[in-house]
Subunit: 426 residues, 2 copies
């Protein structure tokens, strides 16, 4: 019953936007001033349109004013992770997901849409963020993996150069690409992006998409349309890479979809596999052009940075693949579990077997991101909850056994999912 | 143990394309000749690109040459329904889903994308199809409801006029709108479409989207991308209408998503409801602007023409809503159950309670489309399977009881889905 070595496969860090100036080549400073003005105007528009819950925002910033500085303050950062029981982290941009005050320059952040970016400026903004992030990671190298922001749509060659530079500079958390290429840019099935996949395979960098982008113009100001669609737009590159054979051409390439939950994965794999297997509905179609089932590429090359999966999602973990799921606290975003991770873990994982919990909470991420276990164990011994702390017993509840044995029912020859567990009251 | 009154909420009919000429205003005949040439070229391109399984196509047409004439031949049509045990049908366009030889003029069919259509020509094509379809329905009025093809994106006023004309002409199966509005056309949250919703509410016409459209240009020739995305693009208007308050403005309007399966509905409702209820992840957002939960609009206004749901989908029916699901045989498409509907029903529904089966196989559709039960009962008595024929017992299997009692677990206060049934071997 050792403590868990918990890795958050989804945290965020970013400077207050104006402070990025020092990391930006001076030839972009004038453009940066214009960008800052647009940023303020956009924040004002969001407030005016009522897209933000003002009351919540005020309370959030008042209650957490000091701790939120850990979004960019290296000294405070490990303290906040410690309090949450988190030994290590994989760091994405945009610390402030409430008021967007820590956006990297020129849109080089979570909401990137390829076609909306000026390729040169976006890469300049990415370099600024990546330089700063490398510093942040050097302050606590054993516990941090920084994700390279890589706006690849528009100028693939320059993006590859930045990926190499940032990797050289110490960033080892993989790269984050725009989840949407956008109108008029080549979709990710295009061979145009092969140099990106190639360099990431060579340097052992996980390619990520992270939730944020959506066709906002088309969705208008309907928040429900945004919350309903954002996962689909962020996850979409996953099936573009699988079906277009990227993992056949780059068999060691790894791809992760982060902070998109996991509720959609079981259906996606089921649907892709039965199509590939030419089940009744796809008999009439030509060749799918792959040599393996889609779920096999998923298992060998893909991961879900599920962040804070709900119980409904965890109940589907045998379809998704327990070894494909990585937990994250989404620190320091209010939709994450920080600063209440410990009770959250007890609720979510209380009846789940310890060995599975270890995989999802850290062991898989340790392997995927190349953390050194022996460096994290002493940290975990100091801060992390044990299975007992989460209310777990060694074996976990029997209630999951039929689901575990069934796994992916469509591959096991059964036509409905197995029992998915007894309901627990909220 | 009366026989089932089976309504197929998804069948297809269409003339061999050149024969639509007689239903098309003569001023469009020259444009029609050009359209026919493009249609041939497109079919040739599909074959060349290997998008079609040639071997399957040859077998299909050889094996069913005579019966497939029921796609447009009124005299044969009821015979084919009879053989399948189907008492009544809701008729969409495009009888030939293998080689597209029965496409209505100018793209007015299943794959409509608003922006790709010439509004005037598309409406002319729709009128031609709707006129012919009204004739087909008059040949067996008790058993047929024809769906009005309504290319609404581009010229709303003219589309409304055609909806009124076709309704007057006897079509009572509702309307089918393009599931994709496409680049540069107003999305369906726009008030621009209110005249369409208004006339459909007034005339009691169900608004449909039907699977078919996808951003083919963007997906390229990867069939897997098409099969993975087509349901999403076809279902998308459902959440646009819900979140933009269309069902608040038009409370008697009904909307159905047809031939998109039902596997995605449980997750969609869960996700929309927890967002609306401001569960942890959406606390920071502003108002969703609705007075009821999304699943409540779904229950009062929306239906899923699930066509041939797989066992996996039926196992989720208590989340989706048993009363929201309508079965269909997709006649005469090879991805449907025709001409093997009887054994298919026995496999799919064998352990499902009779009362639920009655709803899904026909009773809901009878209400939605205004069939007259007393006209269908004698037909059913002659042709339809009984519960006994499907291997059912009066109560259905006990295995579904926990799932039935739980319903939508997120509304019932449970945090994981209930037991979803014991697996049966395929």
């Amino acid at each position: 019953m050792d403590p868990y070595v918990i890795v958050s496969a989804d945290t965020h860090a970013g400077l207050p936007t104006p402070e990025y100036r020092g990391y930006l080549e001076s030839r972009y400073h004038a453009a940066f001033d214009e960008f800052l003005a647009r940023l303020d105007a956009a924040a004002e528009a969001r407030r005016r349109l009522g897209l933000q819950n003002q009351e919540f925002a005020e309370e959030w910033f008042e209650e957490h004013e000091e701790e939120l500085r850990a979004g960019w303050d290296a000294a405070r950062r490990d303290d906040e992770l410690d309090k949450d029981g988190v030994a290590a982290e994989v760091i994405f941009p945009d610390a402030d997901a409430v008021s967007a005050t820590t956006a990297a320059p020129f849109g080089a952040g979570l909401g990137m849409v390829g076609a909306d970016l000026d390729p040169e400026l976006a890469l300049a903004g990415a370099r600024a963020h990546n330089r700063w992030l490398a510093e942040l990671c050097r302050s606590s190298p054993a516990r941090r993996r920084g994700v390279i922001v890589a706006p690849i749509a528009g100028d693939v060659e320059a993006a590859v150069a930045e990926i190499r530079r940032a990797h050289e500079d110490g960033l080892r958390g993989g790269i984050m690409i725009p989840s949407m290429w956008g109108e008029g840019r080549a979709p990710y099935h295009s061979g145009e992006y092969d140099p990106v996949w190639r360099v990431c395979e060579e340097l052992d960098l996980v390619v990520h998409t992270h939730s944020g982008a959506a066709p906002r113009q088309e969705l208008g100001t309907y928040l429900g349309l945004y919350t309903t669609e954002v996962v689909w737009w962020s996850a979409r590159p996953l099936w573009f890479l699988i079906w277009s054979g990227v993992f056949e051409r780059f068999p060691r390439l790894r791809f992760a979809v982060t902070e998109c939950g996991a509720w959609w994965v079981g259906n996606l794999l089921w649907q892709m596999d039965v199509a590939y297997d030419r089940e009744h509905g796809t008999r009439k179609l030509g060749s799918f052009g792959l040599t393996r089932r889609p779920s096999e590429y998923f298992d060998s090359n893909c991961f879900i940075g599920a962040s804070t999966p709900r119980r409904r999602e965890l109940s589907h973990r045998y379809e998704i693949g327990v070894g494909n799921l990585m937990w994250g606290n989404d620190f320091p975003h209010p939709e994450g579990t920080w600063p209440h991770t410990r009770p959250w873990l007890a609720h979510a994982f209380g009846d789940i077997p310890v060995a599975e919990t270890r995989l999802m909470l850290g062991e898989t991420a340790i392997g995927v991101y190349g953390f050194r276990r022996e460096e994290l164990e002493p940290v975990a011994a100091r801060i992390a909850p044990t299975p007992e702390d989460l209310g777990q017993t060694e074996e976990g509840a029997d209630v999951w056994k039929p689901a575990r044995e069934a796994g992916r029912h469509w591959l096991a020859g059964a036509d409905v999912p197995a029992v998915v567990g007894a309901a627990r009251r909220r």
